[in-house]
Amino acid sequence: MNNLYLELGLKDFEYEKIKKDLNREPNELEMYMYSAQWSEHCGYKHSKELLKKLPKNIENENAGYVLIDDYAVVFKVESHNHPSAVEPYQGAATGIGGIVRDVLAMGARPVALLDSLRFGIDTKSKNIFEGVVSGISGYGNSIGVPTIAGETFFDEFYNTNPLVNVMCVGLVKKDELASSRAKESEKLYVYVGSKTGRDGIHGASFASKKLSGKDDRPSVQVGDPFSEKNLIEATLEILKLKGVLACQDMGAAGILSSSSEMSFKGNLGCELYMDNVPLREENMEVWEILLSESQERMLFLVESGKEKEIKKIAEKYFLDYAVIGKTIKGKNIRIIKDGNVLSEMPISSLVDAPSMYRPTNTPSYIKKIKNKKFESNFDLKSAFYKVLRDINVVNKSWVFEQYDYKVGTNTLIIPGKADASVIWIKNTNKGIAVTIDGNGLYSYIDPYEGSRNIVFEAARNLVAIGAKPLGITDNMNFGNPEDDMVMWQFEKSIDGISNACKILNIPVTGGNVSFYNESEKKAILPTPVIGMVGEVEINKIMDMTFKNVTDKVYLIGK
């Protein structure tokens, strides 16, 4: 018992902080709760201090947005690197599912997906690559959201540790945006979606298998695109009802993190009724129910009396439905089962993981690179062919033709036709231009300049089709943050992105951090990935096909 916190990945000083916050020893359930909430994944321990430097326009929502006329364009990127390494198809599929629900939780209909993919070059990587692409295709096509752009890159630095970053773009009238903030007490938490199983609960924070005694239970999350499609339609219908106050997807640390964060944002407490949660498996422990990462679930906050209408919508779409708690006065979270209070503690402690930022110095490899001399004396012609043949340069239609990039009939620029793609906002003369870019090598050689360059490249991609950049979302894929070199790369990269955004005068609307990406021997290349959204008038869109014989070609810039 005394070592449980260590097995769960909490550090000694964290355990001391918990005792201080609670004014007592945490019980077993609470240690599980903390270990999930304070995991790197949920708590952003190593990054949150630095992320404050980014020029954000929106705080504390499921996804950020920019405005085009009367519309909010909601967008966000998310990584599913580790799950895709373990089970490529499901890892990528559930990555799509998760990011779609983030955008959906803002009340937006998902209208486009983008995927930024990096793989190694060994045989295992080939299987991972194929699994990931068919996972994105299988899930994304089925839910009817077109995958319209992306990048596919191979390098040995990503052997055993692929990067699977997926971005979703959604569209909503700006006065119909939903929020995840609870505003009043005595409102009901309503669960809509698939049942809760033990999916993902050995994930991030539960490295040790001894814990449950029931060891070989796989924790792999399996995606159900049919339920996701139903959940999209149900959520959009539910959000139209009067008396629906807030909405949040259940992502990492599932019910616990979604409910507690909703209350926390509204300065409220909450009560959760464990007996009411729809379960898929028998004999689930309370911590398993709270932390399960089962897919395709949403949480709504509603006025009491609204239950019947919501239930009807859930049933129409073959989804489960339950009232699983309510907001209460005060600032505590209370977990209740069989009439017993199993835990009561301040939400602020749970959702505010201690920061682990520390300043670092320039690592030695940078100096070595700076002094390195490169061969510049080679045969231009053979080099030219070599570049054209390179797998990273060849046409990627064998990837994107597996994606339904046309569903919705809004895709004005399809993949392969330009450096950015465009989704039409029907009934207007505007389009949403999107692109996603990364460059691990540049970011390794110089994390600051390399990261700046990615933002600028994304902007060039948009400008090239006639669009004006409006904002970015960033996915920071890095190695182990406990390593000084990685921390330094991360900090410089954040500085570079911030600087580029300031120069372009565009905000970072949101993003995602993925640490602990390590290939066989060493950390992956530090790989920030930038998703950028812009605005374009549809009669001014430009693609890159040559139009007429005798048209002249100009080079601008130097």
């Binding site: 089925s142 159900d224 990039y405 046309k406 569903v407 004005l412 039409w424 029907k426």
Partner: protein, 220 residues
């Protein structure tokens, strides 16, 4: 105005595409949820693409149990109007026995999304009567569009083949891209005419099919 009803099953995802294109083609279009039973007032029933019931079990297999499908049978039986099934709609029609044959996995085992050329084979049906072009460019987007029928000669001999692929993308027998029933009041096809119904999304060839349907219905 000619009234089109677009059937929406849980998992259908080309319903909005269909509405947009049908309106472009001059139809009065509305949605029909799969539980609904009164479809006789429509001149055209459009069964759109997507993944009804996730395409679990087999593509289109679970949709045939939705109440609306019994009505579609009646609608066809009583010759109330025309039925067009596209992609998943085609799969649903074969699974429910309204069209012959079946659609199985593409030869490549992969989903394929791209523009493809098809030849108009039978030009004498209400669906095709007013199509002017020989060859249409229409996008496909499917993983299970490989059409198979034991008795291919029967289809051929009875003029039930609607469209053939010029370059077969999925392994379909006889390059079949779309077929009719014997009464010529049902057309099932894998390519999506509704995705190329205006020039903005290609050359607008899909509109040829939808306009032919509308004009045939108007001239009845």
């Amino acid at each position: 105005m000619i009234k089109a009803g677009i059937i929406v099953f849980p998992g259908t995802n080309c319903d909005r595409d269909a509405e947009f294109a049908l309106k472009m083609a001059g139809f009065d279009a509305e949605y029909i949820w799969h539980d609904f039973k009164d479809i006789m007032k429509y001149n055209l029933i459009f069964i759109p693409g997507g993944f009804s019931y996730g395409d679990y079990l087999r593509a289109g297999a679970l949709a045939k149990f939705s109440p609306v499908m019994r009505e579609v049978e009646k609608y066809v039986e009583e010759n109330r109007g025309l039925v067009l099934g596209v992609c998943n709609g085609f799969q649903i029609l074969t699974e429910s026995g309204l069209l012959k044959g079946t659609l199985t996995k593409n030869k490549s085992l992969k989903f394929i999304c791209k523009d493809i050329d098809i030849k108009v084979i039978n030009r004498k049906t209400p669906f095709s009567r007013y199509i002017k072009k020989e060859k249409l460019t229409i996008p496909i987007a499917h993983a299970e569009g490989n059409y198979y029928i034991e008795n291919y000669e029967y289809l051929k001999g009875n003029n039930l083949i609607a469209f053939e692929y010029i370059n077969n993308p999925n392994g379909s027998i006889g390059n079949i891209a779309g077929i009719y029933n014997e009464k010529y009041n049902i057309l099932g096809m894998m390519p999506h005419p509704e995705r190329n119904s205006v020039k903005t999304f290609g050359n607008g060839d899909g509109l040829e099919i939808l306009m032919s349907i509308r004009r045939s219905l108007e001239n009845e």
